[in-house]
């Protein structure tokens, strides 16, 4: 099962939209931290132009397998291309921004 965090689609510019998929392990500490960091980062740098799908590997292990995810927490940037994967709690904001191709 997946949850979607999003801004209102009607006001959002489809061109600048960042689509993420976050793989977590239930309420485990690192996963919870990763979610919190992602939330803060999106609000600061991608207001109104992000979409996050959250996948709990305990609940949907097959989906993680299909996507080739071997560790949690893992953030996957689906759009805009190229696809990027970031493993960890996303606590080093500068490096995460660089990896996502956003200005630091």
């Amino acid at each position: 099962m997946s949850r979607v965090w999003d801004a209102s689609e009607s006001t959002m510019s489809r061109r600048g939209l960042f689509r993420f998929r976050m793989y977590i392990a239930g309420d485990a500490l690192n996963s919870a931290q990763a979610l919190a960091n992602l939330d803060a980062l999106c609000r600061a740098h991608l207001p109104d132009r992000h979409e996050v799908e959250i996948i709990d590997v305990f609940r949907e292990p097959k989906l993680a397998m299909t996507d080739g995810i071997f560790m949690t927490p893992t953030l996957v940037k689906i759009a805009p291309p190229p696809i990027r994967r970031i493993v960890g709690t996303l606590s080093q904001t500068q490096r995460v921004l660089q990896a996502l191709g956003l200005p630091t």
């Binding site: 977590i24 392990a25 239930g26 309420d27 485990a28 500490l29 690192n30 996963s31 990763a34 590997v57 305990f58 292990p61 097959k62 993680a64 397998m65 995810i69 071997f70 560790m71 949690t72 927490p73 493993v87 960890g88 709690t89 606590s91």
Partner: protein
């Protein structure tokens, strides 16, 4: 199951070493993973997608889960304790701890580690039995006997009385693993419930002990929400049956009332209060009268229920019935009858037709009652009521208004002649009807008085009074029925007082006879005397006959007074005879009632029987019209009297309508010309001729002629010329008392 399990081999040193090395490898790998991922990773998956949870994450999740559960338990107001299989407290929530600390002084301290079962077992005082019961409950849950146990109990040992509900459930499916004990303070709930119960109890005590039926339905009256037990008593049906089938309420109503109630229900606004009265039929067939009052109950401006009170008013109805009906015959009484007549008259007035009201008097009823006894009299009255009802065709037209008086109303009369025909036909039928009393057949005669609407009265009361007056008149006359004539009212009303006075006058002997002389027209000598009755009223003096004769006749007193007059006149004659004076024959007037009486001849015989030749002293004066009413009977009676030697005179001749053929057959001696003819002689030749013809006629029939009311010398001369035999009048002498008559007219021999 096999009794012997497989032998366990001792674990070798080798194997132990291998396991230890594997664990060491796992730790190393985990440490390396931690290092590689900087401690930031929670899980790692293998090639097959199997997720391995790293220890850090495992610990974290475990702690978080425990914290959540603790928080939930601590947030609960209920006191919760985890017991092991021996009843030892393993864990408690904060509510439990707070309670234990607060009540430690009361000896209820029960922290972790203490044995709750032992605490309960040790309890003493007022709460002991509840505590022991709770311990038993916990043991049965721990023993697997039951899967849940609850007990509600008061705690008297606390500073304030509190109520607790303890619930025990097994910790896991395996009861032996322990139990959860949850204790809740339900004091406030209990109070609310108690007061609800108390008010419910009060309501029930009220509803179930009143004799009225209290009921409650929904607004549409389709479902019965409540009915009090009095329903079973009054309706004879169970409350349950009404709940199951609310339509029973309507079905139980008497078929004659059901439609009316249903219609009223339909036209009734649900928001109206209403009262209805109707009969119900109980399953045993008995009928009860119900008075049902309904009140709407509003909520938010809408009717949402209807409450009602139904009571058994059979007894009240019965007493009302007694007020309007005659208990003996079941007919309407006077009160109800007049009410019904008033309704008929309103209808007659608006339709413009006549109505007739009859009052019926049973003749000789008193005799039947006196001689056969009252039960027999009652039996007759019931039979008469049945006869009248059958002949009227409708019981509501008939009433019993008095001991032996019935009344009947004919709501529509087209021709008055129909009424006469109806009465004659009905009375003949009534007279012929065999009333069987004590195995004997009786024929009963009746008298009827009739009053017509609107001729004899335009309201029920007047019409009724006038019909009564008519029957009263019929009672004393020879008529079997009489119509009310408007002038009759005055006579009856005005004469009631006089009637009483006259009855007393008869008893006290206040009547006297005065005598008027009759003289021979040629010789001028006294030939006889007419006895005239006077009433010597001690208050007013002499009362002339015109004032009271009619009432004597109406009341029947004339029989007594007439007989007295005959006796007195004869006694006077005999006195004169014995006094040695020329005693003239004395004429006495005879009334209709006397003449019709069967005993009249015998009476005369008795009066004259005591003295020899007494008949020669008596003459009877009978009016022409009276004789002509029933000529045959008159002839027989007069012949018998005349045979005794009493002479007969036709009084007031010329005013009746006798034919010559009858006159020749009448056994009479004298013909008295009415005073009106004597007066008319002065008006011309015709008057004289008429008197002349009468005198010639009388002489041709060998009758003596007496002219009445002669007052002038001229009349005297004319009558003399016409060969009239005798005269009577003021010219010769007024009526005077016997003593004066004797001294004035009678010469001693």
């Amino acid at each position: 199951m096999r009794s012997n399990g497989p032998n366990r081999l001792p674990v070798s040193e080798e194997a132990n070493a291998a396991v230890a090395s594997l664990i060491a490898t796992l730790h190393q790998i985990e440490q390396r993973l931690e290092t590689l991922t900087g401690g930031e990773v929670d899980t790692v998956s293998d090639r097959d997608g199997r997720t391995i949870l790293l220890r850090r994450a495992q610990d974290h999740l475990r702690h978080q889960e425990a914290a959540k559960q603790a928080a939930i338990l601590n947030a609960l107001p209920a006191q919760i304790a985890l017991l092991d299989s021996h009843g030892r407290i393993l864990s408690v929530n904060e509510a439990w701890t707070r309670f234990s600390q607060a009540n430690a002084v009361c000896g209820l301290g029960s922290g972790v580690g203490t044995n709750y079962l032992e605490i309960c077992d040790r309890a003493s005082g007022e709460d002991a039995s509840d505590a022991h019961q709770l311990a038993d409950g916990i043991r049965s849950v721990l023993g697997g006997g039951v899967t849940s146990y609850s007990l509600e109990y008061p705690r008297h040992s606390l500073p304030e009385l509190h109520c607790y509900l303890s619930t025990v459930t097994p910790l896991t499916d395996d009861a032996a693993s322990g139990a959860i004990l949850m204790r809740r303070d339900v004091t406030a709930e209990r109070r609310a419930t108690d007061s609800l119960l108390a008010s419910e109890l009060q309501f029930r005590q009220l509803a179930e002990n009143i004799r009225e039926v209290f009921w409650l339905t929904d607004a549409a009256k389709t479902s019965q929400l409540y009915v009090s037990p009095a329903y079973e008593e009054i309706w004879g049906r169970s409350c349950q049956s009404l709940y199951a089938s609310p339509h029973d309420w309507i079905d139980a109503i008497h078929p004659e009332d059901r439609e009316r109630v249903r219609r009223a229900d339909q036209t009734q606004q649900a928001s109206d209060e209403y009262v209805e009265e109707y009969r119900i039929i109980r399953p045993d067939g008995t009928i009860r009268w119900i008075r049902n009052r309904a009140f709407p109950i509003f909520r938010k401006g809408e009717v949402y229920r209807i409450a009602g009170l139904a009571e058994d008013i059979t007894e009240r109805r019965e007493s009302e019935r007694l007020a309007y009906y005659d208990g003996l015959t079941g007919l309407a009484n006077r009160l109800l009858f007049i009410d019904r007549v008033a309704q008929h008259l309103r209808a007659a007035a608006s339709a413009g037709h006549k109505s007739a009201l009859f009052v019926i008097d049973l003749e000789r009823f008193k005799n039947i009652n006196d001689s056969l006894g009252r039960p027999t009299g009652d039996l007759l009255l019931r039979q008469v009521a049945q006869w009248l009802t059958r002949n009227a065709g409708d019981a509501s037209l008939v009433a019993r208004i008095d001991a032996d008086h019935f009344a009947l109303v004919l709501p529509k009369v087209t021709y008055e002649g129909d009424v006469v025909r109806l009465i004659e036909k009905s009375m003949a039928a009534f007279l012929n009807h065999p009333f069987e009393l004590n195995d004997t057949v009786y024929r009963i005669a009746a008298k009827v008085g009739v009053a017509l609407f609107p001729d004899d009265g335009t309201d029920a009361d007047t019409l009724f009074r006038n019909a009564e007056a008519a029957v009263k008149k019929a009672q004393v006359s020879g008529d079997q029925y009489l119509f009310y004539a408007s002038k009759m009212t005055d006579t009856v009303a005005g004469s009631l007082g006089l009637e009483n006075d006259l009855r007393q006058a008869v008893d006290k002997g206040e009547f006297v006879l005065h005598y008027q002389p009759k003289v021979n027209l040629v010789s001028g000598k006294l030939t006889g005397a007419e006895a005239l009755i006077r009433w010597n009223d001690p208050r007013t003096g002499l009362v002339p006959p015109g004032r009271f004769i009619r009432i004597l006749e109406d009341t029947g007193l004339i029989r007594q007074v007439g007989r007295w007059a005959l006796q007195s006149a004869l006694a006077e004659h005999l006195r004169w005879r014995s006094a040695g004076v020329t005693a003239p024959r004395i004429a006495v007037n005879v009334s209709a009632l006397q003449l019709r009486s069967r005993s009249f001849v015998a009476d005369i015989e008795q009066i004259i029987g005591g003295t020899p030749n007494a008949a020669a002293g008596l003459e009877l004066e009978i009016t022409e019209s009276l004789i002509m009413e029933d000529v045959r009977h008159s002839v027989v009676t007069l012949q018998a009297i005349r045979a005794m030697g009493v002479s007969i005179a036709i009084d007031d001749f010329g005013t009746g309508f006798s034919s010559l053929s009858y006159l020749s057959k009448l056994p009479v001696d004298t013909l008295k010309i009415d005073r009106s003819f004597v007066i008319d002689m002065a008006t011309g030749a015709d008057g004289v001729t008429l008197v002349s013809v009468i005198i010639s006629l009388a002489h041709a029939l060998n009758l003596k002629v007496v002219a009445e009311g002669v007052e002038t010398e001229e009349q005297l001369q004319q009558l003399r010329l016409l060969n009239c035999d005798e005269m009577q009048g003021y010219l010769f002498g007024r009526p005077v008392p016997g003593a004066i008559f004797e001294s004035r007219y009678l010469a001693s021999r």
